[in-house]
Symmetry: C3
Subunit: 375 residues, 3 copies
């Protein structure tokens, strides 16, 4: 408990919608929970512990039939509530109920609540305007990274690294020469950087051009990184022709978008990185969407080696106190919020530990009654 | 000792005969013992600890000369009794005697006794009629699987899984709709299932055809899984034209064979799986043998992912008590027999621990005298 | 401390000069120290802990600018003294000074001192005549091997193994039929073997031919293995026409060279093996150099599997006392010298432990002051 590195009572993005087909379940570990995701019907989604109550086979290797997940080993059929519904020649009423997870499909993603299921409230899934409005287009992808998910939060809450890691695309010298300011607003953290009267780097020149704007004139550039718990970072980025108001400039003078980052712990030292870009220009241009996704995918891949080596280094020097500079304020403040949420979660969990656990879930640390059959 | 997962005082299949050439020793770990197998002469087999008494090199990397295993590092020559016979310029009388293993070649397999060598009795190697009779043909192969060997016993003692894991070949719905019965006879376990008046699945249709029988008529099908210690499972399988007596039908109405499974622990969490099929029709048709082996190899490979994921799951949830249903009786009873053998082995080992160890073997936990040479 | 397997107060070969380009730092672990090597200028070399004081990124992933190593994550610039010199928008005076390492480039190699930096004295780097004289040519390479570096010392201080491991090139039966003699001279160990009136093996036949000498006449052959601490083995090898004086024969009757072996621990169980051959004939024949390097590279690769399997075996049988035969005297005596150096190092380290650590280095087990910035 004391070393918990992520909140569990939270909605995490677990998959992109297209990863889970009608007949193809997905096994994925989220926040240390081994979960089988499947579709009981075409537009429905369910999530249960990826562990067959019969012999422990991975349910995600099975298939879906009549809305039930069929174990691919001996044919046990489990429902989205974790209850065994059928098994050939067996009476299944006494079978233990397995842990199931609150899960929602929204905005093209599968969201899962990994902690106390009684607290899962789908109203807590963030509203993402860019995902529902016709004025926006979105493209993105997924990377598996062998590092603590908080290193990715640090990474994204301090875009100074663009100058170095992404020198050939979105990086430029003016980034690290411009001061950042960090604000904590309620449970959110915003780190902003404004660069005025500079030349746009290659990525933004292309965006201006795609937007029908001159790309060879000075621009004002902005980066507003917004952390929201548990671990999402949305970044307003863009350029406007210089002197037209920057971030607040009228649409006809700017190219802008939102860098979308859903950062999901797999275990303590590994993570799933759902990255993408939402743009509010040319939303119906699918070729442009593909183009941006390819470019962004390449750029974001440059972070992987840096983060994985950093993880190895930090494990090798556990006693080293990292510096906390002004540019690190975004990550530091985000981690404080995370730490506070974890502490509250643990306190509340202790208070409830005298109460009974929910009768409908059974998980790793709970007693599962033995089904005895006398031979 | 308390966590021992397999009997050691037993004959295990360690290799197929063709794996060990006249000049090519084989290094393989069986029941946690690192063993070098080699052929002192063409039809002979020997097994010694895969550890050169000189500097610890792997003897299996060496070669055979004059019936001795020559260490490929500095030329020490060891005999099948574990004694060093020669070494250039050295007097070897005082060299420690290394552990050697009782080993037999029989039925096309190499059998090794990994435990107390004084108890090794080749009469305990099971008689396999199909391996010595001209009426039978055999083909098989070897898989290395990252799971506790007992998961494979469970797998084979409950063929319900054929319906799911092997749906496209030998599986059929009628399997899991037919009850099984399990008997414990002395030290053996037999689980049987009979299906009457059904259509044969693809594999058996082909077998009927190969046997010159109609393959489009109803059949009676049987599966009789027989576990014998330490971990062999022989399965009588077949189909007969319906109403002709099933398992007991005359030869001209049926196609049948024995699924041969030698299940050998490598370590606690990994195993060697020697699989094959013996058939008593068209025994001289080598093309048919190859054909069946290829088909069976493909079918049995479908079990690997299931078993390896199950192993990971069970390691993740060590406290979970698996269900023990009627269909699991075969595996459960087999494990009870194994557990009893292990307990007897440990009890007998304790009683003997005051007596001296055999002077001709030296192993992992024994004192090996230091050969000191003054410099 | 008690299990230290290598001296740290010593010069080790860390790299070949050509591995470190002007803009391409090299990250490599030497004696358990993660080190970033880089060139502040064309003919200069520097070595610092491969850990950015800012956020722990691997400095070796960065680049060099104005003689400083620039972190590829957020642009911190570190000097060869381990002090941060610059960082965009930051005052860096208070940044902790990181560990830096004494490092020298000599003879085409990068030498690093991994222990107490106050004791580093470049006069202690061995003089290598073959590396500075125009009469000699050198060619070599690098292998990474998963074994304790001392197994390689054993290997090279007993060339009996040539008969077995390198049977097709430099091995011959006469090697293991000829006795060796081992002397300890001060801090060095020399193991010699002389073989008289034998036929040269393939490698030496080719060398005689390359030297313009008859290769089909009897020769006297010698091997003189010289260990010098911490872990270098130089081997005088050669053949002379029989009866001309052997090792001391005039130049026109012999072909000889020095097998060069720099053996550098990476961690306790892995090592870097810098191997090569220096010859004093046809020193300007680059094609011959390449030819010999290719041949030697192939021969030395034959040792890898033997050593890695030996390492696994010794880890599996930690209590086994290896034999110490006369042929092993070279390795045994070399290990005694190493052991004595380690003990002296630990004694001297304890005596100094009341004194302050050097203010200019900070490493794994030292307190690094936290740079606090108030947010």
């Amino acid at each position: 408990m004391t070393n918990q590195t992520y909140p569990k009572n939270a909605w995490y993005v677990a998959a992109m919608s297209e990863e889970i087909g009608l007949e193809k379940p997905l096994g994925r570990t989220i926040c240390g929970e081994r979960i089988a995701f499947y579709r009981p019907s075409e537009n429905d989604i369910a999530a249960v512990l990826d562990f067959c109550p019969h012999r422990g086979a991975a349910l995600s290797l099975g298939y879906v039939e009549d809305g039930l997940l069929v174990c691919g080993y001996h044919g046990l059929k489990i429902g989205e509530d974790g209850k065994t519904k059928e098994m050939p020649l067996q009476r299944v009423q006494g079978f233990p109920c397995m842990k199931s997870y609150a899960v929602e499909e929204r905005y093209g993603f599968i969201w899962v609540w990994t902690g106390d299921q009684s607290k899962a409230d789908e109203a807590l899934i963030p509203h993402l305007e860019w995902a529902v409005s016709d004025d926006w287009a979105y493209g993105g992808g997924l990377y598996h990274i062998k590092c603590d998910y908080r290193l990715m939060i640090d990474n994204l809450m301090d875009l100074t690294h663009e100058t170095y890691v992404h020198a050939s695309s979105i990086g430029q010298k003016e980034i690290d020469e411009s001061p950042v300011s960090t604000q904590v607003l309620g449970g959110e953290v915003i780190t902003s950087r404004y660069m005025e009267n500079i030349m746009a780097p290659p990525f933004w020149q292309a965006a201006l051009k795609a937007n029908g704007l001159a790309d060879d004139v000075p621009v004002d550039r902005w980066q507003r990184c917004r952390f929201t718990p548990p671990s999402n970072v949305m970044i307003d980025v863009g350029v406007a022709h210089a002197g037209k108001g920057g971030f607040d400039a009228p649409k006809e003078f700017k190219a802008s978008s939102i860098v979308v980052d859903f950062i999901t712990p797999e275990n303590d030292d590994t993570m799933w990185y759902f990255w993408g870009m939402a743009r509010n220009f040319k939303p119906n241009d699918d070729a442009l969407t593909d183009n941006i996704r390819d470019g962004q995918g390449g750029i974001f891949q440059e972070d992987l080696e840096v983060l994985e080596c950093q993880q190895i280094n930090l494990k090798s020097f556990p006693e080293y106190d990292l510096l906390k500079l002004n540019i690190d304020a975004g990550g530091v403040q985000s981690r404080r919020i995370i730490e506070r949420i974890i502490q509250e979660e643990q306190k509340s969990s202790k208070q409830e530990s005298t109460a009974n656990n929910s009768a409908t879930t059974s998980g790793k640390n709970e007693e599962i009654p033995l089904q005895t059959v006398s031979f």
